[in-house]
Symmetry: C2
Subunit: 357 residues, 2 copies
């Protein structure tokens, strides 16, 4: 197994809530020394007491800093973290604004698609990211070594990495996260209003309703920034949902049974084909790419892999001695390696597939 | 513990799918002899092979028949089952049409609020109803002994019984089941459409989205009858949802943070206060009611109990020797017994509370 080896490893976690605390626990489980800070000092102290960090404060020698704060506060704290010499990543649910605001080679935007209704460091778990999808949003200015470092650390938590450009990320999470959250809250409000008319309603709320509204039990506070920062994408998806629900209403009103059946069948088929986590590769292969040794080249290759649904398990960046050119090694499912290699070749890169050494 | 004792016990199950098969398994676990029929003979044979029924066919001596077929087919099969001398109940998700179509003293409408994405008798389980809410919808013409029988049998499956009039039931399930289902299907459709533009979308569908759309994986077929039979209530709730989602859209578009926070907080509070099943009573008490010995009296008392959120654990109907008057005994949470007794008294009944013998 090739891999980026970094040692000794020291990290900072800025913001020690549920996600930051879980990052701290996961890092420490892999032998990192973790220093944590939080605007709420009692929260940082609690993270220390729970073993999510080794020390409270900021480690000037950290090679990696996770900024785990609400999206509105992220740009300022990411910039502050970049004053140290290390790589910085964040965990916010909206990526285009922070990536545009920071635009530094050592910053890699990130978004772990994991969470829970639990609030605060109390709910933190070392295995929170195991099997979860973790999106990275490197850009044309991102240093390949910085991206490879974040990729390998996140992979060590058990997460699958999907690389997207920030705008694509924001459109996609509006569909699978932000609008579903607002819809769950609205359904819950509607039911609560009717429960005032008839107390038995809540006793009738069985498994399906509980499943649908579970996310509405989460922290309302984080949604204010999300709705502000991802406003346009959310409005676009909400408009699509309103149009589609209005159609559904008319189908029911008109008793168009065939159309109703077709729509429910297509939704059923789509739900049943949702990937249940990413199927593990039977066998891995290396895709080697010769690239100009410059920012953005790794970002372009990994983003292309995600567009093709090719999972990147590991990354190695080999710089040429004289500079100017380098080699990327992407470790992927052997069955998909040729697809990725061909797509890279179609974009003018010299790529080749090799059995895993 | 007082209770209705019926012995020997023979039952029919008409329709041996997921619900009918689970009813058969639960009945057999309590010593009943169960005979099952299904329009699809192979389905009945499979129920026999799986031990959900003792025999295939119709038992003319059954004291109780569960009709577990899609709502559109229920009235005809309920009427056929009433040709035997026993009590008949059904399990359909919409109650007003079948109750209006049948209107017989020995028929008690029912709706177990349990299910799963599983289809058919393969998914049947003896404990499917344990802890679930099971709605009964007796009316002014319902024989109290018939209602008490169904109540006690359903209670023996571990279900909590909520008694509602059929129209109230249909309005409430439109809110907590039918419209949430249509909404889940619509969200899933929307995501599937966008997944065609970007394959990574489905990898981003984390726990919250999976929870919200899980019910869309269920059998589409049953929803055609439900949407036809409960059309008006569904349209009413869908219109409410569309109005409320449109408001939510405008709140996001205008950046009204305080209002957004207030709405999400109220949804959060409502979701967190959803009863997690019915809290078991610490101590039970009997509410004894003198009633005219006639249909509908028990229905009125138990419906009143459900309106007050008073759970009825057991029912006994004692007929006077000369006829004309009788006594009902409702076993309820001792802490709520006075509330129910007072409410019955306010409706002109002679009611009293007694420690459980």
């Amino acid at each position: 197994m090739t891999g980026v080896v970094v040692s000794p490893r020291r990290a900072n976690v800025v913001g020690t809530g549920l996600i930051g605390g879980s990052v701290g626990l996961a890092l420490r489980a892999h032998g990192w020394h973790v220093t944590g800070a939080d605007a709420d000092h009692s929260c940082a102290a609690q993270a220390l007491a729970l073993g999510a960090v080794d020390a409270v404060g900021t480690d000037p020698d950290a090679e990696l800093t996770f900024v785990a704060v609400p999206v509105g506060a992220a740009p300022e704290l990411v910039r502050a973290a970049l004053d140290g010499g290390g790589v910085v990543t964040d965990v916010g649910s909206v990526k285009a604004p922070v990536v545009a605001a920071v635009d530094a080679p050592r910053f890699v935007g990130g978004h772990p698609m994991a969470g829970s209704e639990a609030l605060g460091v109390d709910g933190a778990r070392a295995d929170l990211f195991d099997g979860a999808t973790w999106v990275l949003t490197p850009t044309a200015t991102t240093d390949p070594d910085a991206q490879a470092l974040v990729h390998s650390v996140v992979r060590s938590f058990g997460a699958e990495v999907v690389t997207l450009d920030p705008e694509a990320h924001d459109r996609l999470v509006a569909t699978v996260s932000h609008v579903p959250h607002l819809t769950a809250a609205t359904l819950m409000e509607l039911a609560a209003g009717r429960a005032e008319e008839h107390a038995a309603l809540l006793q009738l709320a069985a498994g399906g309703f509980r499943d649908m509204t579970r996310i509405a039990a989460g922290d309302p506070g984080i949604w204010l920034d999300i709705c502000a920062d991802n406003r346009d994408a959310i409005l676009d998806v909400l408009d699509g949902l309103l149009a589609s629900l209005t159609d559904m209403r008319d189908v029911v009103a008109d008793g168009r049974r065939d159309e109703l059946l077709a729509r429910l069948r297509s939704a059923q088929a789509a739900r049943r084909s949702l990937p249940d986590g990413v199927p593990p590769a039977d066998e891995l292969a290396e895709v080697r790419v010769r690239i100009p040794d410059q920012p953005g080249e790794l970002a372009a290759a990994t983003t292309l892999a995600s567009e093709l649904s090719v999972n990147v398990y590991d990354i190695e960046v080999a710089h040429s001695a004289g500079g100017g050119r380098g080699n990327l090694i992407l470790v992927v499912d052997a069955r998909r390696a040729e697809d990725l290699s061909n797509a890279l070749a179609a974009r003018g890169r010299t790529a080749s597939v090799h059995p895993l050494a």
